[in-house]
């Protein structure tokens, strides 16, 4: 008889590169479809959100000051780590009720998407910069800079690993710091993905993940004055009402709030990736410089 007790994973939050429990001590029961049991996942509080903002701010500065080329290298390294942890990522997806075949397919797509965004890192400013014709003896140059701290609320339900990667990577590839409010139905996959992030050489705080109730967390991130943008994907756990109140709350500090419908995107296709997903989280800086003699 096998008497060994398996070591079960405790799913915690991911803040400042560390896996921490919620300061509130609360947990949320999430069904595990492959065993029929439940998993206890940390239920983040508003103070956890506050800590995540502090971490993301530091992460943004550290990350944005790296060269675009190095950011690309690190994102490629993330793809490498995900490749090495395919089995774990697949398992997390099957626990959420996806068949093994579907899970494998989704993980492959997610890894390929990571490589896709790794390639974008040092091409963004080439494509979005411009020299502008002006009426006077000046060079007028525009170049993109990261917006800052961006809260991402990825779609809930569906291919949660693929949508997670497809929404978070375009935010961070340009140098932003991200706070991710994990899908409520499948927070496990997000945390397993964070284990890949944690071992990919990405500075601490670039990606921070809060698991818990979106009805609690979305208003908090929408209100926070130190979050500069909010990427909100409507789904069962983010209804029109919540999205609207988040837009109103976000207006207080002129937050860039983008509310989109997860159903409107075919996440497996090439249309779900590329520059149009990166561009909303950039600020364009224009510099005037005298031409001289």
């Amino acid at each position: 008889m096998d008497t060994r007790l398996p070591v079960e994973k405790t799913y915690k939050l991911f803040i400042k590169g560390e896996f921490v429990r919620s300061e509130s001590g609360r947990a949320l029961a999430v069904p595990n479809e492959s065993t029929g049991g439940i998993t206890q996942v940390s239920r983040a509080s508003r103070k956890d959100a506050r800590e995540a903002v502090i971490a993301a701010k530091a992460g943004w500065h550290a990350w944005a000051s790296k060269t675009a080329y190095l950011r690309g290298q690190i994102l490629y390294r993330l793809a490498e780590v995900m490749e090495g942890r395919r089995a774990e990522l697949c398992e997390a997806r099957t626990q959420a009720g996806v068949s093994s075949d579907e899970a494998r397919e989704e993980v492959d797509l997610a890894i390929d998407r990571t490589v896709h965004y790794a390639g974008w890192a040092d091409k963004i400013s080439i494509l979005l910069s411009s020299t502008n014709p002006v009426a006077g003896p000046h060079f007028n140059v525009t170049s993109p800079e990261p917006t800052g701290v961006v809260a991402v609320v990825p779609p809930d339900g569906g291919a949660t690993l693929l949508t997670l990667v497809s929404t978070v990577l375009p935010v961070i590839v340009s140098g932003n710091g991200a706070i991710v409010v994990a899908p409520e139905r499948d927070p496990r996959t997000t945390i397993v993905w964070c284990e890949c992030v944690a071992t990919s050489d990405m500075p601490a705080g670039v990606v921070n993940v809060l698991t818990g109730l979106r009805s609690e967390l979305v208003p908090q991130v929408a209100k926070h004055m130190d979050i500069h943008a909010l990427d909100l994907w409507k789904s069962d756990t983010v209804d029109a009402e919540l999205a609207k109140s988040a837009s109103v709350d976000g207006a207080e500090n002129v937050k860039r709030v983008k509310v989109r419908d997860a159903q409107s995107v075919d996440w497996a296709s090439d249309d779900a990736q590329g520059l149009s997903f990166i561009e909303p989280w950039l600020e364009l800086k224009t510099v005037w410089h005298p031409v001289g003699l």
């Binding site: 508003r46 903002v53 209100k223 926070h224 004055m225 130190d226 709350d249 207080e252 500090n253």
Partner: protein, 338 residues
């Protein structure tokens, strides 16, 4: 845990031990080396203080830090912390412009009318006149560091000149540093003498004695240095210059408050306390207030007897006040930096 102060049990005051103050400019002054002509110096006996039980001290400080202060009491506590703040800039790069901006902030830290002014600003002597002009007619005091801050490694004459100049310029309070080198080599008499001489040079200005606890090494040393500073005439004892890590910590502050309590229990005059450096956020500030209240009582929750030496603390407290009012976490981009 009353202190046993055999040496000073009868007479009180700055010269209680009746030993000589070192004459500024004397040849042996730099290192206070004994000379044949002045034997009285050896008569100084430092106050007897019992050793500190470090684990117990840290445990008590940690337990007081666990108090949960919320809503209305938190708001009042935060406002009290602001009213006790010595807004400080002590950098080589300080300019009149920066000091004026800081003085304005000390006068009116926030738009909200119920937010009080800070207790004082703390600057280098050269910038005292600037602060004096900026704060004219207000209740905000001007504190100046002196005595060859932050090291204190200069001859006494220079240190006393430093003090007199700062007072002439208009400083209401003088923050002096003790000679840690002398203290650590056991020359407590020199430490005592310099504090007493500085007190004399201060005239009407209040004297805060900086122990620089981060350099004293042990809690026992902190307790002894606190006792010497009190007996030599300091009006306040202060943890740190802010230039050395670790600066103020909760256990060190608790210990120094306990020394004050022991002296006050023995009928000594009231002494103030100022933790400085290392108090960076609102939560810490409330923890310090708890420690003060639990050690010395409500009487010490007063800017005349308790101060925070800080620069970064004010903005965090303001952000917390703003959060209490609006329900949204404030961002540091919305508050002035200096």
């Amino acid at each position: 845990m009353a202190l046993k102060k055999k040496a000073v049990s009868t007479s009180r005051g700055a010269r209680s031990n009746g030993h000589a103050i070192v004459k500024p400019g004397s040849q042996d002054e730099a290192l206070h080396l004994p000379t044949g002509g002045d034997r009285r110096r050896h008569t100084y006996r430092p106050p007897h203080v019992p050793p500190v039980e470090a684990v117990g001290l840290e445990e008590r400080a940690a337990s007081l830090a666990k108090r949960s202060i919320k809503k209305a009491s938190k708001l009042e506590g935060l406002k009290m912390a602001i009213s006790m703040m010595d807004l400080t800039t002590l950098e080589g790069k300080d300019t009149p412009g920066k000091v004026v901006a800081m003085c304005r902030k000390a006068l009116r830290p926030h738009d909200r009318l119920d937010v009080p002014s800070c207790a004082a600003v703390c600057v280098y002597p050269n910038l005292v006149p600037v602060a004096k002009r900026a704060l004219a007619g207000s209740t905000v005091k001007i504190a100046s560091v002196a005595t060859a801050f932050p090291s204190g490694q200069s001859p006494l004459k220079v240190k006393l000149d430093d003090v007199r100049r700062a007072v002439e310029f208009g400083a209401d309070e003088i923050d002096m540093v003790i000679d840690r080198g002398a203290f650590l080599r056991g020359d407590y008499g020199k430490v005592f003498d310099e504090i007493a001489a500085t007190k004399e040079a201060c005239g009407r200005a209040h004297l805060k004695v900086i122990l620089e606890t981060g350099e004293l090494g042990t809690y026992d040393n902190v307790r002894l240095a606190s006792a010497i500073a009190i007996e030599a005439g300091g009006d306040f004892i202060k943890t740190s210059t802010g230039k050395v890590q670790p600066a103020a910590t909760l256990p060190v502050t608790l210990l120094m408050l306990e020394v004050i309590r022991d002296y006050v229990d023995d009928g000594w005059r009231v002494i103030g306390m100022k933790p400085a450096g290392g108090v960076r956020n609102a939560k810490q500030a409330l923890q310090y207030l708890c420690v003060v209240k639990e050690t010395l009582g409500d009487q010490w929750l007063d800017p005349d007897l308790f101060r925070f030496g800080a620069s970064a603390l004010l903005n965090d407290v303001l952000m917390q006040i703003e959060k209490e009012h609006t329900g949204r976490y404030a961002g540091e981009d919305y508050f002035s930096k200096d």
